[in-house]
Symmetry: C2
Subunit: 269 residues, 2 copies
Amino acid sequence: MNFKEKIISRIKEKGSAVCVGLDVEPGKLPEILKNEKDPVLKFNKEIIEATKEFTAAYKPNLAFYEQFGTKGFGYFEKTLEYIGGEALKIADAKRGDIGNTSKKYAQAFFETFDCDAITLSPYMGEDSVTPFLDREDKGVFILALTSNKGSYDFQMQKMADGRFLYEFVIEKINSWNIKKNCGMVVGATHPQMFEGIRKLAPDLPYLIPGIGAQGGDLENTVKYGFVKNDVLALVNSSRGIIFASNGPDFAERAAEEAKKLRDQINNFI
Amino acid sequence: MNFKEKIISRIKEKGSAVCVGLDVEPGKLPEILKNEKDPVLKFNKEIIEATKEFTAAYKPNLAFYEQFGTKGFGYFEKTLEYIGGEALKIADAKRGDIGNTSKKYAQAFFETFDCDAITLSPYMGEDSVTPFLDREDKGVFILALTSNKGSYDFQMQKMADGRFLYEFVIEKINSWNIKKNCGMVVGATHPQMFEGIRKLAPDLPYLIPGIGAQGGDLENTVKYGFVKNDVLALVNSSRGIIFASNGPDFAERAAEEAKKLRDQINNFI
């Protein structure tokens, strides 16, 4: 099964296009976990158990693990174990380097850590991406149009042919998608661009951040970002779900928020 | 001391603009280390000890550590310890994410791992870079024009105003350089661009990969990339130095290659 089919079938099976961002911050952990041996791990474990019913994918962002140094990579590894086969495992790592180096990153995330997908930055071009495309069952989400303010600095600058840089990037992603294992990142904070983007990339799965804390527009994201027959997009929420409460009910509240997002998306479809 | 001053003084003090890339590959380690408890660590330790006299900076690329999983971050941490205060420690990580996430990466590399500098990818724009610029003594090298073939895919595409994308990126880097802690990555495989690039960024330190295995042009790199009064560039070589020999003389041969590169650069200055 190629990565595109894997996403579609996982979303169907779960009845959910929700991706939960596991961006753990030590300062925001519930009081009740403070005396645990490893509050971070206990937190992730409880969040995953509570939300897995409503969730097609989990997306730990590596920054939140690297902040702890070597120990943090242990947290990352263990967190992937907790997810197990329950949902897709997306390493939000935004890597990308020259060919022989990207090959090592691919080995790290697809073999050593056994993630299903990774996010990549496109700036270094084709040979920084292709080492991640060997296996049809492992996918990449390449940054196209991100959810942050900085997306205006380069991505939304016009090229000589009149297109935006991100449109140029999307064209390249299409050309790299031979094994149906490419996807792209498009932020929900740009809903006015979604209709045009879907026309440029009818075949690519989206990973959509920017819902929740970043203030993205869910209705238009779903209306224009999703494709009609197969749901070909994962909508990520991190802080809005995992830090819904920092009381003893943190896991239940996270589950409620994940369920709510799932239902909102399904209503808009 | 700001990062720019730190680079200049370190290069002066060492009489060398050499940066050694510590991109360790298990398959290329010398036979003689095979029975060591940790061949990777032993290798890095010996390479650092042998080359430190000729070296202004070391640049471990994170991919080569992440390939080992959690254990690899232990290698990275230990390798930084071996370098100690002998040379600048540059984390070649090519990170970059939305503001609150970049902040965590900055914490990871500047506080937890205590590196002097990190490489960043610019694609996500200003708020993905500024969290790394808080401390004037810690620097960033932002990808401008990289050494690989993929640099033609986006970096060397023309923008609406007639400039290349990388020129546009350089203009932004200049505007972020308020605390004199920004630098940029320019590949030695584009020596014909160096004269123009130095005019665009007279004040920015360069990190220059592409010498050695990638076939860059050292003479023109130094002629056009370096500035006259202060040496404001680090020339990186990875494989060409650390894997000069895989025999029992691997450390001596690495030292010879580092010394040779130092002398070649100094002759061209």
